[in-house]
Amino acid sequence: MSKPSSPRVALFVTCLVDLFRPSVGFATIKLLEDAGCKVDVPISQTCCGQPAWNSGDRENTRKIAETVIQTFESYDYIVAPSGSCAGMLKMHYPEVFAGDAKWMERANLFSEKVFELTEFLHDVMNVKKLKQKLNSNITYHDSCAGLRELGISKQPRTLLKSIKGVKLAEMKDSETCCGFGGTFCVKYPEISNSIVETKTENIESSGADVLLAGDLGCLMNIAGKLKRQGSTLEVRHVAEVLAGMTDTAPICDTNKKTVAKGR
């Protein structure tokens, strides 16, 4: 697809960003606008339908997907600050309409235009360098859907490393699941807890002060565990740091004075 010079991009907000952390949405808008996009937020958006899809409810998934496609298909691109939601829109929507050629085609055309935020900035808008400075020791967790459905791994790291003062301290097994898994974490809480405990152990051993990731679900899970364990680590969505918008307190924290603002 040839890239329009100033593409019209629709922000797919995601339920968790809408409900818990609007700052991620605004950081995403800033990054997209800085990259030269015209950003719009379609007001009639709801959810990508993943909870229904992963619960085996095809019928409701389909109805939700139809609404999403109708809402977003007129834009040049659809960008979400989440590998999980973007993965649903990009990889699963065509399958939702399997057997319905007309909708399948529509879904394919829609899906081609969907991107996760860091992937979109790096691969489509060709952003390789960010201007701000930030003295911070960061570790990055690869959220599963972004990593394995969309192949996102180097994009957020390239962008982070381009920020002056940022040091990346990779944790052990950054590619291992954090145990969130959507409804998994409430259906099988003990297993989920055991998995996230392994994750927080690896995060703490990395020696980083800040944990970043591209998915709010994982971040809430990990931050919630870290705080329960009494950790002082600062947890944020990668978009906040990339946009230099770290005024909001870190996830699960009230402390406004933050490491990411520089010490």
């Binding site: 949405g25 619960s55 109805k63 998994f184 259906k187 099988y188 392994t198």
Partner: protein, 476 residues
Amino acid sequence: MEIKSPQFKKNAKAALADEQLQKALSHVRSKFIEKRATAVRELDCFNELRDNAVAIKKHTIKHLDLYLERFEEKVLEQGGQVHWAATARDARGQVLDICRKIAAKTVTKGKSMISEEIGLNEFLEVNDVTPIETDLGEYIIQLRGEHPSHIIAPAVHLNMDQIREDFREHHTELPEDRSLEEPISLLQEARGILREKFLGADVGITGANFLIAETGTSVIVTNEGNGDLTQTLPRIHIVLASIEKVVPTLEDTSQILRVLARSATGQEMSVYTTLSSGPKRGDDPDGPDEFHVVLLDNGRSSMLGTEFEDMLRCIRCGACMNHCPVYHAVGGHAYGWVYPGPMGSVLSPSLAGIENTGHLPNASTFCGRCESVCPMRIPLPKMMRHWREREFELHLSPASQRRNLKLWAWFAKRPKYYRLFSRLSHLALKMLAGKSGRISFLPLAGGWTRFRDMPGPEPKTFMQAWQDRSTRDQPQ
């Protein structure tokens, strides 16, 4: 074997509290993953080989009936016998009949998951034939009266001190003061005891990694050499194999062998890959007088043409469980039936019924790591989701879960009401968080807050804040 999958939640809790098990599982987390990664890195055409292995299996499955017929024809040509078993019960009966014909007393066994699937050991025992597992891991768990917790490392749930105690308890004929400090002394003790058993057995039973149609050959892939002694020394060799094990040619076998060991143990080749074609011949000083193949269906042919057909490509390497965070947390026994981990969560419902195994395809975070390492590129998460669809259609998923989903979906399909729904949720969360910025107890999500905090929301939802900004920026 008795199915304990319905108690998955209880099994998992017990597993998480089991310190010995947790210690043992730490070996799975580190060693298997590292070894596979190295082996894959060192072979630059690994992914091309995977693609080709998939293509071979797809071709074979589309022509499965014909390849099975050819395999049978070639086995008969070489003086072997083929027994077709539609069910586990048929297979057990066929094995027992063969044993009874020579009044067999003991049967040595190479590692076989099919044997577990059909519950062969228990059945032979009640019929006065003694089965002796000879793979070291299998031998250990047989002493303990357990079943394998992993398809290629059956005793991976145990630590050395447990094995040491078992040996002291069971090997009473040996001096009490012998040293069993090192793993090698345990191995040598088992070797010594099993050597006698190999030489004295009437029948040897092995599984099969492949059945080659071209030559009527069964193939086992092992490291210890026990499988070879099992099939070489007794008068009768019985191969237990399921129908999807067939591959067309020797060349096809090589293609799949190249991805098998690398995915399983991280070896480039397992130590022994043994091709067996029929019984002892004319001037051959070794080998069995009779060669039997029991071909088991047990539900597999019913998977053909369904959304679970791809599962028939599985070559039982175990990579999916070696990389599964849920398997790492609870181990194989929690799954409650023969096949643990992601491959089991797809296969067990097919073979043992979704009504018994409903937890298994649900107990996954869908992290996708299993699919990413599967040498056969089996879309395991997708197939687990298909099982969830079946459960949803059959109303097998819990009522409360269905109710919540239905309510949520009602809103999600209606943008205007969804806004209202999220505003109300937002308000409630804000109240619960108070000034602390986080929630330590959340009704309906106790599973979350029992173990972790939940962040409190920011003052407004994104949509509220965005609309405020838009009205501010664009005065009418």
